[in-house]
């Protein structure tokens, strides 16, 4: 929520109307918040070289303000802060700016039984549907993942899991930054969601193939 003295809501309204002066004010006023989001994203993308490059971070921070300007009309007063609300768009912009890293999904015992055949993925593929597109045998995972909690918790738990697989030193913080929640809450959401998914996989024979994946192996 914003306080009566907080200029956030009028600035967002002015940006929604296309006022570029408001964009400048927004960047000046909330630069520290935007920078924190940018840094968290760059860290989670394992680019310490860019984290140390102050000018590059300044540049990405300005671009993050622009991302919010472009979407300001869709923001609802009283909701999540704009930098949290637009977290995914900011992350996509950063990935596009600094280049997609290539990561391997950590399931080398895989469903096709070939060690070392784990799909190589880019950031763009890191959604649950993106992973299934690369490994269709994981399709049951979409069903079970999408069935056990709210849409937000599904996304938060998925991001937590993917960040963990990517050796993010603090997946809880990354998820917290993206969803505007506390790291403790992010951990709790992941644990609750993952426990439910695991229970369904081991209780329902339709999900038997998933039991061989190292995420769920006994």
């Amino acid at each position: 929520m914003t306080s009566p003295d907080d200029p956030l809501e009028p600035l967002m309204a002015a940006m929604a109307a296309g006022d570029l002066a408001a964009l400048w004010s927004f960047h000046e006023t909330y630069e520290a918040k935007l920078r924190a989001v940018v840094l968290a994203n760059v860290r989670s993308m394992h680019r310490p070289d860019i984290v140390r490059d102050a000018e590059r971070i300044d540049s990405l921070t300005a671009d993050a303000a622009m991302v919010i300007f472009d979407r300001a009309a869709g923001w609802k007063p009283g909701g999540a802060k704009p930098w949290n609300w637009a977290a995914r768009a900011i992350r996509s912009m950063i990935a596009a700016e600094i280049g997609h890293r290539q990561v391997e999904l950590g399931n080398d015992d895989t469903l096709d039984g070939e060690a070392g055949s784990a799909p190589v993925m880019s950031d763009a593929d890191l959604t649950i549907e993106g992973i299934v597109a690369l490994a269709p045998e994981l399709e049951p995972l979409v069903h079970v993942w999408r069935s056990v909690s709210s849409a937000r918790d599904q996304e938060a738990a998925w991001l937590f899991r993917v960040q963990k697989e990517n050796h993010d030193p603090s997946p809880a913080r990354t998820v917290a930054d993206e969803f505007g929640i506390s790291p403790a809450n992010a951990r709790k959401i992941h644990e609750r969601h993952f426990t439910r998914v695991n229970a369904v996989i081991w209780a329902d024979e339709r999900y038997e193939p998933l039991r061989h994946w190292d995420w769920f192996a006994a």
């Binding site: 570029l20 964009l23 400048w24 630069e31 000018e55 540049s59």
Partner: protein, 99 residues
Amino acid sequence: MTTSARPSAVGPTRLVFRMADVLAANGAAYPMAGALSAAVRGRHQLDRSEYARELGITLEQVDNAEAGRTPLRLLPEAISSRIPWLGIDLTALAADPAA
């Protein structure tokens, strides 16, 4: 308005370029001049009317400047004299020869 220099010109300069991109996409004749003018008002954090009153210029001058309809050399002095305080890299102006 604060007149202290910013620690780095990179972010503000980048932002002015992006603002100029928006104006250029809208067909502005002088996008960099428009972006700089909007940035000056953004620094003041005033709406157009209050800003025009404070600077002693007309609302029409403000609108023309911020829409990129006024070349840099013809901007009201009340606006152009404030551009150096934006903390941007002024060589950026070279990117907009029409300004």
